[in-house]
């Protein structure tokens, strides 16, 4: 597992939109994001980078460096 926890979610849904493999879904009861399919996480960090509250944590031991373009 690479995406490890979501704490302090406000339910804006940005992470759900940015995740390319649909790892995160919105809990209909709480309206907050939950890690539904952790095994599908590709450690792309998009959810973490786009979360406005920095609520998402990625396991550091499984992380790979984020590749950013120079242009």
């Amino acid at each position: 597992m690479s995406i490890s926890s979501i704490k302090g979610c406000i339910g804006c849904g940005t992470c759900i939109e940015t995740c390319p493999t649909d790892v995160i879904r919105k809990d209909p009861k709480s309206g907050k994001a939950v890690i539904t399919y952790p095994a599908d996480c590709q450690i792309c960090h998009l959810c973490r980078m786009y979360c406005p509250l920095d609520a998402i944590s990625i396991s550091p031991e499984k992380s790979i460096p984020v590749i950013v373009s120079w242009g």
Binding site: K7, C12, C51
Partner: protein, 218 residues
């Protein structure tokens, strides 16, 4: 030095140590022992600043005239001056904390600080966020009414009751908001926050009830 003076000095020292323990050391300990994943130095510093600001605010309930028995050895003027100084510090820290959260975005790829801030403010279906916004507004009123107390058309005693009620509502909402949205508010820290906040409110309510029963019996 008379024995009474020594006891007074000792009591002052114990009070200072207790204040440091409950409102500085314990929160730091909870932060250090919590299992929340660590982030960059800047982000953790901002988290710590906010946590300490919150606990300073909790300390205000105990650093007032309502806590007569414990603060007996201290001069009232000094206590009130410290209450004021700490009040202005924590109000400033907590007023800017929503902006501080997005500051690290200046140094990262991904969402921009302004975009992050507008997303936070436009998410209206989050209970924790709405509680935070109400608490933030109440804190602003608390700060302004304290700063310009002399200019308000209100007797000092009436202002004190107003200040106490406003603080109680504010602390309730702020604690709820922090427990729900705080990154470091795991179960032990939430329980600690709830206990200290509850005790502070109880102290205030008890002093009001005692006062009103004294007036009735007189």
């Amino acid at each position: 030095m008379f024995p009474g003076d020594k006891m007074k000095a000792d009591m002052k020292t114990y009070n200072r140590l207790a204040a440091i323990l409950f409102f500085l050391a314990m929160p730091l300990l909870f932060w250090a022992l919590g299992d929340t994943p660590r982030r960059s130095f800047l982000k953790e510093s901002i988290s710590l600043l906010t946590i300490l600001g919150y606990f300073l605010m909790l300390g205000q309930f105990f650093l007032s005239r309502r806590n007569k028995k414990v603060l007996k050895p201290h001069k009232t003027g000094k206590v009130l001056r410290l209450h004021k100084i700490i009040g202005y510090i924590f109000v400033s820290v907590l007023l800017v904390h929503p902006v501080l959260i997005v500051v690290p975005r200046f140094f990262e790829v991904g969402i921009s600080p302004s975009e992050a801030f507008s997303t936070i403010l436009s998410t209206w279906d989050s209970q924790g966020l709405i509680l935070g916004m109400i608490a933030w507004s109440l804190m602003l009123i608390l700060g302004i009414t304290s700063m310009f107390r002399n200019k308000l058309v209100m007797k000092y005693t009436a202002w004190r009751v107003f200040h106490g009620i406003l603080s109680t509502v504010f602390i309730t909402l702020a604690t709820w908001h922090a427990v729900e949205l705080g990154r470091h508010t795991d179960l032990p820290m939430s329980l600690y926050m709830g206990t200290i906040a509850g005790l502070g409110v109880l102290l205030l309510v008890r002093s009001y009830l005692q006062k009103s029963s004294n007036i009735q019996s007189a």
